[in-house]
């Protein structure tokens, strides 16, 4: 993939980090994933040491950082891997030859390594780099030469991960955010795997200039992914049953600019279904009170989640209120807030034209009762997609939709994803695989004379 130069100005796809942006830190090639917000004071803990994230500000996404021993304490420095293509090819050549070594003589009694923990600490204090420590460990290992080629590589990698950990600066995008949450806190996103999320977006035909109705009970992940695809056009209506909006804290990870945030609106199902204007006014007054409460609830849920995702407490509090920070580069870093209450004009326009598609991601709810209320809000021939963690509720829903003739082209799908390790002579599926990423019911709304528009 050809990566291009960083784009300047507030563009849709900034490639360089800035102060106050959210990033996803990938430690040791996927072993650990941490969400962080970059600022002068933010830190990251690896092992038992804490590192400042200051060096990461202003670097392009995709940069690799390695732990280096500094004069006072270790820090993260940008690491550019040397072109190793020649080495890899030589190794490939070696592997084609017969591998005569095996592990019959290797006894795992913890005595192969002659360097002690104290020796390593002494080396660190003298300023040895991580790689030097790894080389020293290899030199002092009695069994290293007896290992096979593959085994030696694995050993080296294992030591490097411990003594010279690497951090990859990843851009938070719907894919990386979904993968990270699926790995760490799958329950929060209703066990929605990334391929299920992508299928959900495609089945519902989410493109620019569409008005998408979303019932999102997975922390805002689906709303964020839809907003990303819309790219500042159209609108996303995040709807909710009852009076309290569902939490949407994941949206803050996406680094949306103002334009996109403006398009993410919230409205309760009652408001959308209310026919008379007077009723809707009364409801919206009631809504204002609820929104105030829900915002404070949101703050509480935000601060809980930010603690759990390794943000330092200073940033956790400051994030909740959008503020104008003047950083040294002179850019104002205001965190725009998505999820404003939908204005009357928007609700009116949605009622007249109907939404262009519907996405429901509500793992705890019954799909049919939700679809019954929400499907009539769509325009005719609008696609919809419903995600659920389990099959049965969707099967019931599908049956009911067919009986009521509310939709056609109904399809119940289960996406399947298997990850492979790709190395010469060692390409095989990974040892652990996700068993279930949920199910998706998709279809198109049909027109019927008896349905209320």
């Amino acid at each position: 993939m050809s990566e291009n130069k960083p784009e300047s100005g507030p563009t849709v796809n900034p490639r360089v980090t800035w102060e106050g942006c959210s990033v996803l830190l990938d430690i040791n090639d996927g072993d650990r994933l941490v969400f962080a917000r970059l600022s002068a004071g933010s830190t990251l803990k690896i092992g038992n040491k804490t590192f400042s994230l200051q060096p990461l500000i202003g670097c392009p996404f995709g940069s690799l950082f390695q732990v280096e021993s500094g004069k006072e304490k270790p820090y993260l420095s940008r690491f550019i891997p040397p072109t190793e293509e020649n080495n890899v090819q030589d190794e490939g050549g070696c592997q084609l030859q017969e591998e005569s070594r095996d592990n019959r003589a290797i006894i795992d009694n913890n005595q192969a390594q002659s360097l002690t923990g104290d020796d390593i600490d002494a080396m660190r204090r003298e300023g040895a780099t991580g790689n030097e420590i790894v080389e020293a460990l290899i030199a002092n290992s009695a069994t290293f030469d007896k290992k096979t080629q593959f085994s030696q590589e694995k050993y080296r990698l294992k030591k490097q991960k411990k003594y010279a950990p690497r951090v990859l600066l990843r851009r938070p995008f719907s894919r990386s955010i979904c993968e990270a949450y699926f790995k760490k806190y799958p329950a929060r996103i209703g066990f929605l795997r990334v391929d299920a999320l992508s299928l959900l977006l495609s089945m519902a035909n989410v493109t620019a200039n569409s008005d998408v109705l979303v019932l999102d009970m997975v922390g805002g992940l689906v709303t964020g992914a839809v907003a990303e695809r819309l790219g500042g056009t159209g609108s996303v209506c995040n709807t909710y049953l009852g009076g309290t909006p569902y939490p949407m804290e994941i949206i803050r990870m996406f680094n949306f600019n103002n334009e996109i945030c403006k398009r993410v609106l919230r409205c309760s199902v009652n408001d959308l279904c209310a026919v008379q204007n007077e009723t809707s006014e009364q409801v919206s007054q009631h809504e204002d009170v609820c929104t105030m409460e829900s915002q404070s609830d949101e703050k509480i849920s935000l601060s809980v989640s930010t603690e759990e995702v390794h943000l330092s407490s200073k940033n956790g509090v400051s994030d909740l209120v959008p503020e104008n920070e003047l950083s040294t580069t002179g850019k104002t870093c205001k965190t725009p807030k998505a999820g404003e209450k939908a204005p009357k004009e928007a609700i009116q326009s949605w009622k007249e034209n109907g939404f262009s598609s519907l996405i429901i991601a509500a793992p705890e709810q019954d799909a049919w009762s939700l679809v019954k209320d929400l499907l009539p809000l769509l325009t005719y021939s609008a696609p919809f997609a419903i995600y659920h963690q389990y099959l049965q509720p969707l099967a019931t829903c599908m049956n009911n939709l067919q009986l009521e003739k509310m939709a056609i082209g109904l399809q119940l799908s289960e996406p399947w994803l298997r990850e492979y390790q790709v190395l010469p002579s060692r390409t095989h599926p990974c040892m652990q695989m996700s068993g279930s990423g949920g199910y998706i019911l998709s279809g198109t709304r049909a027109y019927s004379n008896t349905s209320q528009s």
Binding site: S2, N4, N13, M203, R229, G231, G232, Y380
Partner: protein, 169 residues
């Protein structure tokens, strides 16, 4: 499912009967239409996903499951410049175009002489020709076009031997 261009006087015939196009005009999308024999069909608005299911196959195409995964993994959003090598029947091209609209663009290439012409007709028919440029080029033999050097956001290769094209990228 079939993609039909509606004309006042034409007629659709299949094993369920005869359907007159003039009956359809003015009806909302999603309506059910009956034939002279009591068979029925539904009129659906076209979407890129439905197009994938009805387009004429000149080559094996990609279907929605893989395409949705690709678009997610490539992180394609409105405003991106996408290069696609190996247009085939244009199934993926259509989805790329719908992902980058309104400010992005898709350049797609195929080394076959006749397929680009059919592809261009299809793009014209479904209305994405303002977002897509179709060219003829043998990527494996000639490498990537220089005019895009440093500009593309994403490059997608669907070729028999993609490793031959990689060095020039």
């Amino acid at each position: 499912m079939k993609a039909v261009k509606e004309c006042e006087n034409s007629v659709l015939q299949n094993r369920f009967g005869v359907f007159k196009n003039s009956d359809w005009i003015g009806k909302p999308f999603g309506s059910i239409i009956f034939s002279n024999r009591g068979g029925f069909l539904y009129l659906l608005a076209s979407t890129p996903e439905l197009w994938t299911l009805v387009l004429s196959h000149r080559t094996q195409i990609l279907y929605i499951a893989d395409i949705s995964f690709l678009i997610m993994y490539l992180e394609v959003v409105p405003g991106c410049l996408v290069l696609e090598f190996g247009t085939g029947s244009g199934s993926l091209t259509t989805l790329f175009a719908s992902a980058v609209v309104p400010t992005g663009y898709v350049y797609t290439f195929d080394f076959h002489e006749q397929r680009p012409a059919s592809a261009r007709e299809d793009f014209e028919r479904i209305g994405i020709s303002t977002l897509v440029t179709m060219g003829v080029r043998d990527i494996q033999g000639e490498g990537f076009p220089d005019q895009f050097s440093g500009l593309a956001d994403y490059v997608f290769l669907d070729l028999p031997q993609p490793w031959l094209a990689i060095p020039s990228g």
